[in-house]
């Protein structure tokens, strides 16, 4: 799980082009949206594609992302349970 979280942080930084942010800067329970990392609705769409491309998880409704993408913790838990690759 720790490995998955680490990997996820790296991928999020790369995909969202988060300049000046390192893996160490993101805590597992930090909110990704709003006050935490400051991601927005466009990032949510990027994350939906990341889930599909990297883990074979298809989310058809952007609203689902709200709970799944709350934090690295919630995201990795969802991936661990639902990944197809």
């Amino acid at each position: 799980m720790a490995e998955l979280k680490e990997e996820l942080k790296e991928k999020i930084i790369a995909v969202l082009n988060l300049e000046d942010i390192a893996v160490e800067d993101i805590n597992d329970n930090d909110p990704l949206f709003g006050e935490g990392l400051g991601l927005d609705s466009i990032d949510a769409l990027e994350l939906i594609v990341l889930m599909d491309k990297e883990y074979g998880i298809k989310l058809s409704d952007p609203k689902q992302g709200k709970t799944i993408f709350e934090s690295i913790e919630s995201m990795s838990a969802y991936i661990a349970e639902n990944r197809t690759k």
Binding site: V15, L16, N17, L18, E19, D20, G38, I42, L45, E46, V49, D52, K53
Partner: protein, 353 residues
């Protein structure tokens, strides 16, 4: 009664660096087929959360816009109007490559969102929280002049008081290669300048130049923007009439024009028109600018900045001289002429203020 319109601030990101007083003294002539704009540091202008999604064109636009507004001491303009020939070319290419390379799968929205032509104007509005009029013109070599005409009309008619207007284009790799294939742009191994050009095509460039226009003359005013006229088709034989009508409308004689700023770009298909145009103003000094900016659709904005600077300084830097002649009297009136391959002729008249 029409309002007078003044150029009160200028900002630019160009192949010669950012806008500054010494730009034309320090400028060097371009001789490469592709000339990227020298990028300033954007950190203090654009928050990292915003800049992570922005291509060069957007960043250049935001920087140039802010520079122009700062100089004119305008915080939020009433309207934002931009011109761009190819828009956000880099993001368009990126999104298209993703579609083609991944067979329409695993596509992400960012580059699509940023690819629309009005992204630069929109991002400036977003950053300044400017809820006013916001237009983007996209018509090849007169993209900028169209924006300028729109701004001029609104200011003259008293609809707005401060308008931010600018031109921006960015180089993207694939588009550049395609333009080389059809000889619109010179081959990569040529080392010609606008003046020494013998091969077809132009030295290509990119950049952003913005202006803060206002209806009041201020201590930062460069010049008065008097008139703009755009005509899609003018045959070379009709050029004298085309010019005469414009001068008449502004109650000027050819001898009243002290300097011409011409769009010479090293491609004979375009340049023959400038030769014919120059012949109509035997007394005026002839200036050019595309040897410093490179040719790109919105480069005429850089031309206007050059002409405005000449009027403000009342001096023609030697780098801008097409011919070694000087204006007969004091520099008061400059006429800009731009067209591309005999299409989209634009005349812009500015006056010292």
């Amino acid at each position: 009664m029409k309002n007078n319109v003044f150029i009160n601030g200028i900002g630019a990101v160009t192949a010669q660096g950012i806008w500054r007083t010494e730009l034309f003294e320090e400028a060097s002539e371009l001789n490469e087929a592709v000339n990227h704009a020298q990028q300033p540091s954007y950190k203090e202008f654009i928050a990292p959360a915003m800049s992570r999604r922005m291509s060069r064109g957007i960043k250049m636009g935001i920087y140039a816009a802010q520079q122009a507004l700062d100089e004119a001491e305008v915080t939020v303009p009433d309207a934002i109007i931009t011109g761009t020939g190819l828009g956000c070319s880099e993001d368009s290419e990126k999104f298209l490559r993703n579609i083609l390379d991944n067979q329409e799968e695993f596509l992400t929205p960012t580059s699509f969102i940023q690819s629309t032509h009005n992204t630069v104007a929109a991002q400036i509005a977003l950053r300044l929280q400017c809820k006013g009029y916001n237009f983007t013109y996209v018509n090849r070599s007169i993209s900028f002049e169209s924006a300028l005409l729109d701004a001029l009309l609104q200011l003259q008619q008293g609809e707005e008081e401060h308008i931010l207007v600018g031109g921006v284009d960015e180089v993207s790799d694939h588009t550049f290669r395609l333009l080389q294939l059809i000889e619109e742009v010179k081959a990569s191994d040529t080392n010609e300048t606008v003046k020494t050009s013998v091969t077809p095509g132009v030295n290509y460039g990119e950049g952003a130049t913005f202006f803060s226009l206002g209806v009041q003359k201020t201590r930062s005013s460069y010049a008065e923007l008097v008139d703009i006229h755009i005509q899609h088709r003018v045959d070379r034989a009709e050029l004298p009439d085309f010019v005469a009508q414009f001068l008449e409308r502004n109650t000027l004689a050819a001898a009243d024009v002290d300097a011409l700023l011409l769009g010479y770009n090293g491609d004979s298909a375009s340049d023959s028109y400038y030769v014919a145009f120059e012949a109509l103003f035997p007394q005026a000094a002839s200036l050019y600018y595309k040897h410093l900016s490179g040719q790109y659709d919105a480069c005429s904005a850089f031309g206007l900045a050059a002409a405005a600077s000449v009027l403000q300084q009342r001096h023609i830097p030697s780098r801008l001289k097409w011919k070694d002649n000087t204006a007969p009297g004091p520099l008061k009136t400059v006429l800009l002429y731009n067209q591309l391959k005999g299409k989209d002729h634009a005349l812009t008249l500015i006056r010292a203020c």
